[in-house]
Amino acid sequence: MNFTSAKYICNPEMPDVNVVVKAEIEGEGTVYLPVGVEGNRHWKALQAWVAEGNTIAEAD
């Protein structure tokens, strides 16, 4: 799973709480993945991408 970008999206009612990551994944396009869900393979792969030194951009 190859990420090319990732950015947090916050909860509209609680702007301090990130609830989604909007990610671009090669072959899958734009994928919205829930933050911190154990068992979600996109989230797990994103953690590996971050561990490689990449950064999830902050929400607007």
Binding site: G27, V31, L33, E38, G39, W43
Partner: protein
């Protein structure tokens, strides 16, 4: 041989008598994402539950329909085709069994059976690896081998279930993988083609007859891992905050984990003239206001979604006439909201 003897020989000697097949969609009938895919990193992009890996090769995987004579031979209407114009090692087909579904196979034998035909990788055969995997640790069993011919033949491969020495079998990502691959040591780039159907994995040392089931049952099983909410949808979203309206969609089945979401369709960033079969649109007080090009429709994610329903936030292209007023939604017939909870 008497009929009673034939019946006795076909009865399973291990495991239960029903629901024996650990593989979902082994008849290759359900293809929610479409009938052909070239994306394979590896990924499920055509037939549900069937994961395609190119591993540096080139090719496609697709759902095919049997000819009448082949249907008579195999008993199946659909089959899966992996068509590699250039092979590479570790290219092929993966199937992920959710660990909870196969824990009872520990310490026992497993039998993988299927119909297949086609051509072999350059080295002359496929390898059939199988292993526990928890997202970090992998514990391999002893791989099988497969050599196919140009005619439909039913194969059965029996092996000992891998021993889980380091892999956790209870984590949310735990699974048992079975694959049919170009062997790791075979780095040839020869073209090959694998046609396969009637895929069945069961506890025991003999292959029992394939368990046919109606397509609605198979679809429901597949929707634990992938589901589409398809347009056309007319609905209403509740004004949420500032310039956002939100709604929830129920998922057709309780999914394995809170899913990721993709959207098929584009945001209607215009007005009436842009409302179409392939656009996500909103209206407010009888006026089409479109969806924002920057935000459009978005997934609500954690804290607002679950394994049973997902929150969708809708951002209008033009402002609501006033805050606190709900918005209408129209998602065209070519639009879909795709929920992915694959292993």
């Amino acid at each position: 041989m008497s009929n009673a003897r034939k019946l006795a020989d076909n009865l399973p000697t291990d495991g239960q008598l029903g629901n024996r097949n650990l593989i979902i969609n082994g008849a290759m009938e359900v293809a929610q994402r479409g009938t052909s895919q070239s994306n394979a990193n590896p990924a499920i992009g055509s037939v549900d539950r069937m994961r395609f890996a190119l591993s540096g090769g080139t090719g496609t995987m697709s759902q095919q329909t049997m000819s009448a004579s082949d249907r008579s031979t195999t008993g199946f209407d659909k089959y899966l085709r992996l068509d590699l114009s250039a092979g590479n090692n570790n290219a092929g087909l993966y199937y992920n069994v959710e660990a909870a579904d196969i824990l009872h196979a520990q310490g026992k034998k497993l039998t993988l059976s299927f119909w297949a035909k086609g051509t072999n990788p350059g080295g002359g055969s496929f390898v059939v690896p199988h292993y526990w995997y928890d997202g970090s640790n992998q514990n391999d069993g002893t791989s099988g081998s497969l050599t196919i011919t140009s005619s439909w033949v039913k194969y059965a491969i029996t092996f000992d279930t891998a021993t889980a020495s380091s892999a956790s079998l209870t984590s949310a990502s735990s699974r048992y993988d079975v694959a049919i691959l170009q062997p790791n040591a075979d780095t040839s780039t020869n073209a090959w083609q694998l046609n396969i159907t009637g895929l069945m994995l069961e506890v025991g040392s003999q292959a029992s007859p394939f368990e046919y089931e109606n397509i609605s049952t198979t679809l429901a099983k597949c929707q634990r891992y992938y589901a589409k909410i398809e347009g056309p949808i007319h609905g209403y979203a509740c004004w949420s905050y500032s310039n956002v309206a939100s709604t929830h969609f129920s998922l057709p089945e309780k999914m394995r984990a809170t899913p990721s979401v993709t959207f098929t369709g584009t945001n209607n960033t215009g007005n009436n003239s842009s409302v179409g079969d392939s656009t996500f649109s909103m209206y407010n007080h009888s006026t089409w206001i479109g969806t924002s090009g920057a935000n459009g429709v978005q997934y609500g994610g954690t804290n607002a979604s679950s394994t049973q329903s997902i929150r969708i936030n809708c951002y209008p292209h033009n402002s609501f006439t006033s805050n606190g007023i709900s918005a209408g939604l129209y998602f065209g017939q070519n639009c879909s909201i795709n929920a992915d909870s694959e292993l």
